[in-house]
């Protein structure tokens, strides 16, 4: 007979702790991994589907889901504190939750990028650092399907996983005062896109004409944690065409 434990669905293990009086953190792992990523996504979905009284919003990250609530609006028996009441509700909601299969394959968000030139002044540097040609850097950067682990740092800024380590490059010794919105950069083992003009020390390899932050939309961030992203190269002319409102999807 098979080991009965093996046939039981594997429950998600987690810890709960407060972040002040108005937030609860669900910790679902300690390292960045596809397994932890799936648990975080499953947990965030479950909690968002069943908001409790006083629930405000939640923020998924690499290994955590942070739940914000209004402690003055948490209802029911709040012994000893509203945090404990919320923790019990979260435990109930997560009861029996399984890590789940890999999330249903959603279509990747396609981001056109004009690499090099004025848009990517550090493309040469990234190539030289890794003994590659600029064309090889572009090929390696456009190859993978990246995973959006979280949105943070700036509105719509995606922390992407999956970059090929052959194009890793250190941050600039002196950060630039203003990096134009849409700039695609590499910092260490990460790649990302700047949604707003901000100062920053990333090596810039190109720019996308697609807006990552759209404050007029009810869903202002183009990307969400859990999405997948692909970059594809466009010419400077195509970049200008995009900017003028031509939105030809590949």
């Amino acid at each position: 007979m098979a080991n009965p434990a093996a046939s039981l669905p594997q429950k998600i293990k987690y810890q709960l702790y407060p972040l002040g009086e108005a937030a609860l953190v669900v910790q679902l792992g300690d390292t960045i991994s596809p397994e932890t990523f799936r648990r975080v996504q499953a947990c965030a979905r479950r909690l968002a589907q069943r908001p409790f009284p006083g629930f405000l919003e939640l923020v998924p990250a690499y290994t955590t889901v942070t739940v914000y609530f209004n402690p003055l609006q948490v209802s029911g028996h709040c012994h000893p504190t509203p945090y404990h009441r919320v923790a019990r509700q979260v435990e109930e909601l997560l009861q029996g939750m399984e890590p789940g299969a890999a999330p249903e394959a959603t279509e990747a968000v396609m981001l056109p990028v004009c690499y090099g030139g004025v848009f990517g002044p550090d493309l040469e540097f990234v190539a030289q650092t890794n003994q590659l040609t600029p064309q090889e850097v572009i090929a390696l950067h456009t190859q993978p399907e990246y995973v959006v682990y979280l949105i943070g740092f700036a509105p719509g800024f995606p922390y992407l996983g999956g970059m090929n380590q052959r194009i890793a490059a250190p941050r600039r010794a002196t950060p630039r005062g203003a990096i134009p919105a849409g700039s695609v950069g590499i910092a260490g083992h990460q790649t990302g896109v700047y949604p707003l003009e901000t100062p920053g020390g990333w090596q810039l390899i190109g720019r996308t004409p697609r807006a990552l932050f759209r404050p007029d939309s009810s869903s202002p961030s183009l990307l969400k944690a859990g999405d997948t992203v692909r970059f594809y190269p466009i010419s400077e002319q195509e970049f200008r065409h995009w900017q003028e409102g031509g939105t030809h999807e590949p």
Binding site: L19, T64, P215
Partner: protein
């Protein structure tokens, strides 16, 4: 029906109680740095606490009134005049059409609030009027007040914020002597004690750093703004090198970058951060912290989560009493 900006002040922005619901898209909550002063200012003029106010910093604005308006000033102690005559804070004031309100320097505290009956009517962005400076959205074109700009104030014509019962009392309001002021604004101490919970990564720090955090004062440096206060004091270190994976942070989170000087995150904090969180300022002390100026010193005092809630309830009870006292005033 609006206020013309004659002098903008140092940093004057439109704020409300924040832009909730978009943190997972990287959009900060923002809102008033001192939510207590913001709420009381609104109650004083009969507004809902969520109505937008003007938040000014260290040096206030000068505003010309295009119509009669009922206003209130709260927060830090600022020298304020209407048509050259000094006026008090923490009470409703009737300002006549054509009058000039001049808010000067802060005598005590750092931030003040101006509420106008009927609210300040700017287009809501993602459900909030708050100015989000870094993203350039909310408030007046996403920016601080500029000279000659118009601050739209519908006054009593705004059906959403009727200044209940105030109109009939206009004459009386010009002679009012009463005021309301939460007790903790009566004295601003040189060395403020801020009560703090242990943060999630408190245990990562050296014992000596933990002790120093509670026992030694920290100075708020000039590199402090609506995003956060950078503190100078004993350097705090991790017992062993560990890296925190970016995770959510909130108003009042005390994080420690590698060089060891803590940063207290304030209203415009980023949604996520990657520095170990040694502490979390309790909600009841955020208003006091918002009134601290660069150069001032603060001390952290440890409290438990239970005490933090008790102090929050106490503050809310005090505010509820104040609010109901105000509604009694209105009915007379």
């Amino acid at each position: 029906m609006s206020l013309r900006v004659e002098k903008a002040g140092l940093l004057t922005t439109v704020q409300d109680l924040g832009r909730w619901g978009y943190q997972q898209q990287g959009v900060i909550v923002g809102g008033a740095m001192d939510p207590v002063a913001h709420r009381v200012a609104n109650w004083l003029v009969g507004n809902a606490q969520e109505a937008a106010t003007l938040e000014f910093t260290m040096l206030g604005p000068s505003l010309r009134f295009a119509a009669d308006h009922l206003i209130a000033l709260t927060g830090g102690s600022f020298a304020a005049q209407i048509n050259g005559k000094a006026v008090p804070a923490w009470r409703p004031l009737l300002v006549r059409k054509g009058a000039l309100l001049e808010v000067g320097r802060a005598r005590q505290g750092a931030r003040g609030y101006l509420a106008v009956a009927g609210g300040i009517q700017v287009p809501l962005v993602l459900g909030s009027a708050s100015t989000y400076l870094r993203a350039g959205i909310g408030g007046l074109k996403g920016a601080p007040l500029q000279e000659q700009a118009m601050v739209p104030c519908p006054g009593s014509s705004n059906p959403e914020f009727p200044p209940l019962g105030w109109e009939t009392g206009h004459q009386n309001l010009e002679r009012t002597t009463w005021f309301v002021r939460p007790a903790w604004y009566q004295g601003f101490r040189q060395e403020l004690v801020i009560r703090v919970l242990q943060g999630p990564e408190y245990g990562w720090f050296f014992r000596e750093s933990q002790r120093a955090f509670w026992q030694q004062p920290f100075q708020v440096t000039p590199q402090s703004d609506r995003m956060g206060y950078r503190l100078a004091g004993p350097a705090l270190g991790l017992a062993e090198p560990r890296e925190l994976l970016s995770t959510a942070v909130t108003f009042g989170t005390v994080q420690v970058p590698p060089q060891g000087n803590p940063i207290v995150l304030m209203a415009d904090h980023q949604t996520t951060g990657g520095y170990p969180r040694i502490g979390q300022v309790i909600r009841a002390d955020l208003a006091a912290l918002a009134q601290v100026l660069p150069g001032q010193r603060i001390r952290f005092q440890e409290v438990t989560l239970e005490e933090a809630y008790r102090l929050l309830y106490e503050q809310e009870r005090h505010l509820a009493q104040l609010k109901s006292a105000l509604s009694l005033k209105r009915k007379r």
